[in-house]
Amino acid sequence: MSITPSSDYIIPKLKAETIVSLIRKGVRASGRGLEDFRELDIVTNYIPNADGSAFVKLGNTQVIAGVKLELGTPYPDTPNEGAIVVSAEFVPAASPLFEPGPPDENAIELARVIDRSLREIKAIDLGKLVLIPGKRVWVVWIDIYVLDHDGNLIDASSIATLVALLTARVPKAEVEGEEIRVGKSEYTGPLPMNRKVVTVTIGKIDKIMLVDPDIEEETVLDTKLVIAVSDDERIAGLQKSGMGALDKNEVLKMTELAMKKGKEIIEIVEKSIEASTRGASTEQTARKSREDSEDTDMKGENEEETSQ
C-alpha cells in the first residue's frame, strides 16, 4: 500500500522559502544555474569482485552500481536472450530517512525505472549472452547501492549503472554438451552493448524547470519528471515521480531540456570510460593480449566468442 509520505526530509520553512525565491530569480542556493548538474565524479572498476562496477558521486549523493553475470535459465518468452535483473538498496547508512528492511516503494520505483530505460531499447545485446539456446544464458544482475542521499538518486544511479555496464566483462565459459564450466576471474571480453542510456530528472517549481535537484530542492519541488535519454537521441522511458501535476507544454519543455542534458552526461561517461580503459590497458595486456582497449564503443566487439 502506498501512503502519503509523512517522514520526508524536513528543512526549516525560512530556508525553503529562500530556496524557492532564489529559483524564481533563476539562481540556486548552491550558486548553480538552473540547467547545471552538480560536480560529477566517476570511478570505474570500484569493486574488484564485480564483473563491472562504478562509484558515482553527484554533488554529495554517492551511489555504487555493481554488475555480476551468473548462469541462469532464459525467460520462456525469450529463449535466445540473456536476462537482466535490476535491484536497488537504499542502505540505512545513506540517510536518516532510510530504514533497514526490504526495498520500499521508492527503491522499487528507482530500480524499475532504470530497468525499463535499458530493456526496451535493448541497451545490452542480450542475444549475445546465450550459452545453450533455450537452456543456459547469462543473467546480468545490476545492483544499485545508495550510500549517501543528497537528492537526485535516480540520475546518479542511472549514470553508475551505465558506467558499470560499459566496463563489465563477460566471464569465460566453456560449453561441453550440456555442461558449462566458468573460468575463475577469466573473461572473454566486454559485455556487448548496443546503446548508451541515462536518465535526466527535471524538477519543476511554478513554471521554472531545473536539473539535478539536491535533497533540499527536492522538498520544495512541485513535481519531477524522469526522462531516459539514449545516445541516438530518442526518449527511452518516462516517469512522473512525486505528487504534483504538469501541463502539456511543461512536459514538452522538460523532454527537450532532458535531451540536451542527457547528451552532455553521456559524453562525460564516455570520457571517463576512455580514461579508465587507457589506465587499465597495461594491466589488461598483461592478463591477456587484447587490442581494442582504447575502443570505448563496444558494439560488435568480440562477436566470435559469444555468438552461438
Binding site: 501512503i3 535466445n80 516517469q239 504534483g244 514538452l252
Partner: protein
C-alpha cells in the same frame, strides 16, 4: 534471435487494428458508480476486457494513528491484481510492479483531492483489477477518481487515464494487452481534464521526440472522450437520486 516469431498480426489488411479499431479509437467503455454497499464510494470501470473495481473508505481515522499528518488527510492507495485476472494465475502477494503502481496511482490522485479539508484523517483507495487486458493502471485511475467523487470527497477535478502506444510504427490510442506485448512503446497517461494537468506519465519503450508529442496529443484527446463518460455516469446517478426523493 527470432524471439518474436509468434507475433500476431497487429494491423489487418484494411488498415484497422487487430480488434477492428482505428488507430485513434477507444475500446468500448463502461462505467458504474456506487456498486458496493460498505464502501463510502465505489466504481466499476471497463475498457474493453479490462475490468477494475475501486473502493474508497474515508475520510476516517488512519490505522495506525501515528501515520497521520497534522495539516492534511493522507491518501493510502493499493493497486492489486486478483489471482484470476491474468492468463496465468497471479500470486496474490504484492509484486514489485504492484508496489510501484500503487505509488504512481496515489501520486496521480494527490493533486485533485482537497486533502487540506481533513487534517489527521486518512482517505483509503482500494483498487482490484478483476480482469487484465492492458491499460489496467489507467483504468484504475479512472475508477478511483469516480469512487472518490461517489464518496463525496471534495476534489478539484476528476482524473482520467488512458494508455497510448506505438504499434508496428503507428501511434495508437488505448492499447490492449496484445498491442502492449508486441508493440514498441506503452505510454500510460492520466490527467485532470478540466484543469489541463497531467498527473501520471510513464513510458515503457522508445519514442522519438516527435512521436512523443503525437502520442501526448492522442492521449489528451482520448482523455477528453473518457472524461465525458465519467461525468455522465455521475450525473445520471446523482440526478436520478434527486428525482426519486
Amino acid at each position: 534471435m527470432v524471439s518474436k516469431e509468434e507475433k500476431p498480426k497487429l494491423f489487418r489488411d484494411d488498415g484497422l487494428r487487430h480488434d477492428g479499431r482505428r488507430p485513434d479509437e477507444l475500446r468500448p467503455i463502461k462505467m458504474q458508480v456506487g456498486v458496493l454497499k460498505n464502501a463510502n464510494g465505489s466504481a466499476l470501470v471497463e475498457y474493453g476486457k479490462t475490468r477494475v473495481l475501486a473502493a474508497v473508505y474515508g475520510p476516517r481515522e488512519p490505522q495506525p494513528k501515528h501515520i497521520s499528518l497534522p495539516y492534511r488527510a493522507i491518501l493510502r492507495c493499493r493497486y492489486h491484481m486478483a489471482p484470476f485476472s491474468t492468463h496465468e494465475r497471479k500470486s496474490p502477494a504484492p509484486s514489485r510492479r504492484e508496489i510501484e503502481l500503487s505509488k504512481v496511482i496515489r501520486e496521480a490522485l494527490e493533486p485533485i483531492v482537497i486533502s487540506e479539508m481533513f487534517p489527521r484523517a486518512s482517505i483509503d483507495i482500494f483498487i482490484e483489477v478483476l480482469n487484465a487486458d492492458g491499460g489496467t493502471r489507467t483504468t484504475s485511475i479512472t475508477a478511483a477518481s469516480l469512487a472518490l467523487a461517489d464518496a463525496g470527497i471534495p476534489v478539484r477535478d476528476l482524473v482520467t487515464g488512458v494508455a497510448v502506444g506505438k504499434v508496428d510504427g503507428v501511434i495508437v490510442l488505448d492499447i490492449d494487452e496484445v498491442e502492449d506485448m508486441y508493440g514498441e512503446a506503452d505510454m500510460p497517461i492520466a490527467a485532470a481534464p478540466s484543469l489541463g494537468k497531467i498527473t501520471l506519465l510513464q513510458l515503457n519503450g522508445v519514442l522519438t521526440p516527435s512521436e512523443f508529442e503525437e502520442a501526448l496529443d492522442l492521449a489528451m484527446n482520448g482523455i477528453q472522450e473518457i472524461y465525458k463518460i465519467q461525468r455522465e455516469v455521475l450525473k445520471t446517478k446523482y440526478l436520478k437520486a434527486k428525482v426519486e426523493e
